[in-house]
Symmetry: C2
C-alpha cells in the first residue's frame, strides 16, 4: 500500500476547488440563485463530480464538526460541577481554541447560513446531534441513563443559550465579543460568570 498517493492530493484539490467556487458564487449571487451546474462548471468538473464530493448542495457550506472537541472538553470538566456550568466552560474553551484563527470565516458562514432557509434547515439537524452529544456527556458524568429527562432538557437549554449568543453576534456588526455574549446567555439561565476562567 502506498500512502503518498498523489491521487488523494488531486481529489482533495478538486474538492477544495468546488467548495471555494461554491462559496464565492453563493456570496455573490445568493444560494438559491446559484445552480449546482454553475458551481461544477466554475470548478471545471461535471455536476456528478460535485455530488460525489458533497452528497447534497447544502453540504458544501456545512462547517467542520466541532462536536468531538466539545465532547472532550465536557468530559474533562470536574465531576461535581453543575451541568450547565460544565457545558458553559467547555464552550468557553472551545471558542478560545477556534475563534482566534477562524473568527472571520465563522462569521461570514454563519451569516450565510442564517440568511438561507435551506441551510438553516440543515444546521438544525446538526444541532440536534450536538444536543444529543451534550445530553450523552452529561449523563455519563452523572452516571445515569441518557434518556434522563432533566439532563436532556439542560442539554437543550445550554445549546439554546449558545445558539442565541451566536445568532446575536452574527446579526450585529461583528465587533461584539462572542465569548462575552455566551457568558451573558448562560447567566440568563442562572449560571454565574466565572471571571477566573481565562488561563
Amino acid at each position: 500500500m502506498t500512502r503518498a498517493d498523489w491521487r488523494e492530493q488531486k481529489k482533495a484539490a478538486t474538492r477544495r476547488a468546488i467548495q471555494e467556487h461554491a462559496l464565492r458564487l453563493f456570496l455573490a449571487k445568493g444560494y438559491e440563485a446559484t445552480t449546482v451546474e454553475e458551481i461544477a462548471a466554475a470548478a471545471g468538473v461535471s455536476h456528478m463530480t460535485f455530488f460525489r464530493h458533497f452528497p447534497r448542495k447544502e453540504a458544501v457550506v456545512e462547517s467542520d464538526d466541532y462536536d468531538p472537541l466539545l465532547a472532550e472538553l465536557i468530559a474533562a470538566r470536574p465531576a461535581g460541577e453543575d451541568p450547565l456550568t460544565a457545558i458553559h466552560r467547555a464552550v468557553h474553551h472551545a471558542l478560545a481554541a477556534v475563534l482566534p484563527e477562524d473568527r472571520e470565516t465563522v462569521l461570514v458562514r454563519t451569516r450565510l447560513v442564517l440568511g438561507t432557509p435551506a441551510l438553516r434547515a440543515r444546521q438544525w439537524q446538526n444541532q440536534d446531534a450536538t444536543r444529543d452529544l451534550f445530553a450523552t456527556e452529561l449523563a455519563r458524568r452523572e452516571g445515569v441513563a441518557e434518556t434522563d429527562l432533566r439532563l436532556r432538557v439542560l442539554a437543550a437549554a445550554a445549546l439554546a443559550a449558545v445558539t442565541t449568543a451566536i445568532t446575536t453576534w452574527a446579526d450585529g456588526d461583528g465587533t461584539a465579543d462572542l465569548v462575552a455574549l455566551v457568558d451573558e446567555a448562560f447567566a440568563a439561565l442562572g449560571v454565574p460568570v466565572d471571571h477566573a476562567v481565562r488561563r
Copy 2:
C-alpha cells in the same frame, strides 16, 4: 355578497380529501416513498390542484398553528411573574385546552414528523417562529426591547423544555402524561411545580 358560497364548501372538501389521502399514504408507505402525483391521483385531482392547496409537500402535515393561543395565554399571565413560570403556565393551559380533544391526532402526527427528516426540518422552522413569539411576549411584559439577550435565551430555553417533553412523550408508548412531562422539564430549569394550577 353571498356567504353561503357553495364553492367554498367544495374547495374545502377537496382540501380535506387531499390531506386525508396524503396522511393515509404517508402512514402506509412512508413520506418519501409517497409521490405528490400519487396523492393527487388518490384524491382525484391533478398535481397542480395539490400545490394550489398546499404550497409544499410538507405543508400537508403541518399542524394547525397554536401560536395565537399561546400568545394570548402568555399575555394573560400576571405582570410580576418570572418569565419561565409564565411560559410554563401558558403551555399548561394550552395543553389542557388542546389535549382532551386532539391527543391521538397530535401523537400520531408528532411521531410521523419525528421520523421524517424533511418534516422535522419544517417543524424547526415553525419552532423558530414560536421562539420569537415567546421572546416578543416576554419583552412586552417586561417593557424592554425584544432584542434583549436574556429574554431571548429564556424563550429559547422554555421552548427547548416543551420540545424535549413532547419528544419524550411521542417516543414512549403513549401512556405517559404529557402535562407531567412538561412540568418535569420546566422543573429541570428551576421552575417550581405549582400543584394548584388546575382549575
